[in-house]
């Protein structure tokens, strides 16, 4: 069953009320409810002239006609419009969707495919020269590009099949004149429900697309950047050039292309955000889980330490550490990561404390499960959701923080391009050359916004209380 299928099966139900009521219970124990058993038998005696209500059968969890239709509809479409659409999509992903009447999805696939082709065109020099003079960077970029193309093609093909099946099912259901919502299906996990809610959240989806595009740009930087981000040009002829056809976003004081520097800067910013948050999350979750599950003195010790770290103003701490050592990428990542865990530790501890009292953890103990089984199988999966949300929001924050440090000259050192240093560079001539500071600034804003949109979307999707 594809995701889209499942999405539709879930539509008929509220999130809390179970799909099928207790009537799904069949009473094997005759003594329990003699009337129930008899009733069930009665319900299955065909009654001439009276169509049996669809509901009854579906509720009892038996396969219904709608089920069978859905099963046949799941076969890949063949013949007619859908055959042509498949062929078109195989050549040009997204074109088939246009034919089947879902223009938005078609346009999205077409756009993705086009953007990747544009990347090939832009980076053709590097791609063609990669066998002789390719650096590791180039290889990574080209492999990313290849995988990207493959992903779009496969995605379009799969989605097309889903759309066609959906279409067929809808038509069949419309002809039968019943509600395709209720039928027996396999379990609908918390994760798949969350995914369904996330997919309906347009801002979050936009954020997700932006994040993916940003990571693609970062990986494919050597292919996309038109100029060397570091080498200085002729200061008199190329310094402070406004945006133009040659330099889309203009040049800086030393004649370096702003766009190239932003593209390379994305690598630094995203890498710092990702790795620092990963360190913080791992450390914080571990400490929080230990504190929460073991409790007692260990808990008290860990939490007092956490409080101490939290009580110290973070920016001052960062500046102090960096002032003491030579600033470098590794140091900055470490420092940002090692000052961020207390929040996560508190969050996880709180979750673990409340989960520990949940009856299903008690039940696991009563059933003789070991400590590690309980932690790994029952605690962690249930703590994961809020941690994922915190991590996503954390990446955005870390990127801003790094930009701030670099802006103050305490982060990434020139000439390595980081968004913070780029903005700092433009500070000297804001009036005369506005583009130098503006575009890197915009990059920061868009990135942080994207991560926050995704984070909020995840929060809404993962927290059952937030789902309407």
């Amino acid at each position: 069953m594809t995701d889209r299928e499942r999405e539709d099966h879930g539509m008929g139900r509220g999130p809390e009320r179970p799909a099928d009521p207790e009537s799904g219970v069949h009473e094997p124990v005759e003594k329990l409810a003699p009337d129930a058993a008899a009733r069930e038998r009665a319900a299955h005696t065909p009654r001439p002239g009276v169509p049996e209500p669809e509901r009854t059968g579906a509720d009892r969890g038996e396969p219904t006609r709608a089920d069978e239709r859905a099963a046949t509809a799941l076969e890949p479409p063949h013949g007619g419009a859908s055959g042509l659409a498949t062929a078109l999509t195989a050549i040009l992903p997204g074109s088939g969707h246009l034919l089947l009447g879902s223009p938005a999805r078609g346009a999205a696939f077409l756009f993705a495919w086009g953007a990747l082709l544009a990347a090939i065109w832009l980076g053709w020099e590097a791609i063609s020269g990669v066998t002789e003079a390719g650096s590791l960077d180039d290889w990574v970029a080209i492999i990313t590009l290849g995988l990207g193309l493959l992903a779009v093609w496969l995605g379009a093909m799969r989605d097309l099949r889903g759309a066609a099946a959906e279409d067929a099912r809808r038509t069949a259901a419309r002809h039968a004149g019943d509600d395709p919502g209720i039928q027996d299906r396999s379990g609908d996990s918390q994760w798949s429900i969350a995914a369904r809610h996330f997919r309906q959240n347009v801002p979050a989806l936009v954020g997700l697309v932006l994040v993916v595009v940003l990571y693609l740009i970062a990986f494919m930087a050597p292919l996309l950047a038109p100029y060397d981000p570091i080498a200085q040009g002729d200061l008199t002829t190329t310094g402070y050039l406004p945006p133009s056809g040659d330099y889309w976003l203009g040049t800086d004081q030393f004649g370096r292309d702003i766009m190239s520097r932003i593209i390379y800067g994305a690598r630094i910013s995203l890498a710092i955000g990702f790795i620092a948050v990963a360190i913080a999350i791992i450390l914080g979750s571990l400490l929080g889980a230990i504190a929460g599950y073991i409790g007692g003195k260990v808990d008290a010790a860990i939490m007092r330490f956490t409080d101490m770290v939290m009580a110290f103003p973070r920016l001052i701490l960062l500046i102090m550490i960096i002032a003491l050592f030579e600033p470098s990428l590794t140091l900055i990542i470490l420092v940002l990561g090692l000052t961020q865990w207390p929040g996560t530790a508190r969050l996880v501890r709180g979750e673990v404390l409340s989960l520990r009292e949940q009856e299903y953890i008690q039940a696991a103990r009563a059933l003789g499960f070991g400590r590690w089984r309980i932690i790994l199988r029952h605690l962690i999966p249930n703590v994961l959701a809020p941690v994922i949300v915190a991590a996503t929001l954390g990446i955005g924050n870390t990127i801003v923080l790094e930009a701030g440090l670099s802006f103050l000259g305490m982060g990434i050192q020139p000439p390595t391009p980081s968004w913070g240093t780029l903005v700092a560079d433009g500070r000297q001539n804001l009036i005369g050359a506005w583009w130098v500071a503006t575009f890197p600034g915009l990059a920061i804003v868009v990135t942080v916004l994207a991560f926050n949109l995704v984070g909020d979307g995840l929060r809404d999707a993962l927290d059952p209380r937030m789902r309407s």
Partner: protein
């Protein structure tokens, strides 16, 4: 409206010892106590069980007192028998049930299960105990891991105890679901896709997967509607007959407990105040608290106006329980006097097989020579 008199029955402040009438000397401390009774070969025998939770606070979480959740409880459950445990919330019912299974460590007392001392068990013995004694919980929404399918939850138990694997485990899951009246296909669904009653059935199936002899049912029907409650009660009774299970059936609803139990024990503030055969307890309660509890159960029979005994005040805190008889501040017994605040009443025999902890009820003296 302001001239209206106070709703006085309800307004009574708890009695201080000094406001009680002076001792009249009619207290009866005699009679055989429950501790002195030899229950023969009971499956579970609990003696003098206590659980005091330390109350922490302050900077370094120092112990500042104790919650006397269970304060010396004695009872037994025979093979295939149901003992009902009733009491208001906070009276220590759940704590008792969990301490018996060593889900929490008892502070004092012994629990003997099938001849073995549970309180002295090491990790290995405990693991074996988990196969014989199980528990079903109150909240059908919280007692199942929301991220595991019903089938996985049961399969996990089978795996941990090495009971079945692969195909065998699948077959067993289907069998168990059928046993509790659920469709076997439901194995691949998640808990949130079920109603409260169905979830309770899943909890029962999971507890049954280790084929226990004894199950603690901690308010298994309290969260359910009457109609669904009846379904689950019937299922439990049916399973008991079929599989010869023994139950400790905890509930706050006296009418449900009476329906399912062979014997009933009434708890108040961590102690058992009365225990007897279910029918006898209903017909002629000996403890004033049991009488009040019985009279407070609303009966769906409009014509029948019974005398409702309305107890004044609230259940006192188990951190600082009243001296002497824990019930004395609310007790409506006409003979109540200062003795009640001074003496802890023994749980003594007041009628054949009926034990109550009240010094103002005459003890039963077995005819000599028998």
């Amino acid at each position: 409206m302001s001239e209206l008199p106070v709703a006085d029955v309800l307004a009574a402040e708890p009695d201080e010892e000094t406001t009680l009438p002076p001792s009249k000397g009619d207290s009866d401390l005699g009679g055989r106590t429950l501790e002195e009774v030899d229950p023969g070969d009971a499956l579970v025998h609990v003696r003098g069980l206590k659980k005091h939770f330390p109350l922490r606070g302050g900077f370094l979480s120092r112990i500042q007192g104790h919650v006397k959740a269970v304060d010396g409880v004695t009872f037994w459950v025979g093979k295939g028998e149901t003992l009902g445990l009733v009491g208001e919330s906070g009276s220590g019912k759940s704590t008792t049930g969990r301490a018996i299974l060593r889900l929490i460590e008892p502070t004092e007392g012994t629990v003997v299960f099938a001849g073995q001392d549970v309180t002295a068990m090491d990790a290995e013995d405990l693991q074996a105990l988990r196969r014989q004694a199980q528990i079903i919980f109150q909240d059908p929404f919280a007692s199942l891991n929301p991220r595991m399918t019903v089938g996985d939850a049961i399969r996990e138990v089978l795996k941990v105890h090495g009971l079945a694997r692969g195909e065998g485990a699948d077959a067993r899951v289907r069998e168990l679901l059928r046993l509790v009246g659920l469709r076997p296909e439901y194995a691949s669904r998640y808990p949130h896709e079920f109603s409260g009653g169905q979830r309770q059935r899943i909890g029962i199936a999971r507890a049954l997967s280790v084929e226990p002899e004894f199950i603690v049912c901690d308010e298994p029907v309290s969260a359910l509607d009457v109609s669904v409650q009846a379904q689950v009660v019937n299922l439990l009774e049916e399973l008991q007959q079929r599989l010869g299970l023994a139950f400790l059936f905890i509930a706050h609803d006296l009418s449900v407990v009476e329906h399912v139990s062979d014997r009933v024990a009434v708890m108040y503030l961590g102690r058992i105040v009365e225990t007897a055969d279910a029918e006898q307890l209903t017909r002629s309660p000996k403890h004033p608290y049991t009488r009040a509890l019985l009279s407070a159960v609303p009966v769906p029979e409009p014509g029948r106006k019974r005398e409702r005994i309305v107890l004044p005040g609230d259940v006192p805190s188990p951190i600082d329980p009243p001296s002497g008889c824990p019930f004395h501040p609310r007790c409506p017994h006409p003979l109540k006097d200062q003795d009640c605040a001074r003496t802890v009443p023994p749980l003594a025999e007041k009628a054949p097989g009926q034990f109550a902890a009240c010094i103002k009820e005459p003890a039963y003296v077995a005819p000599t020579g028998s």
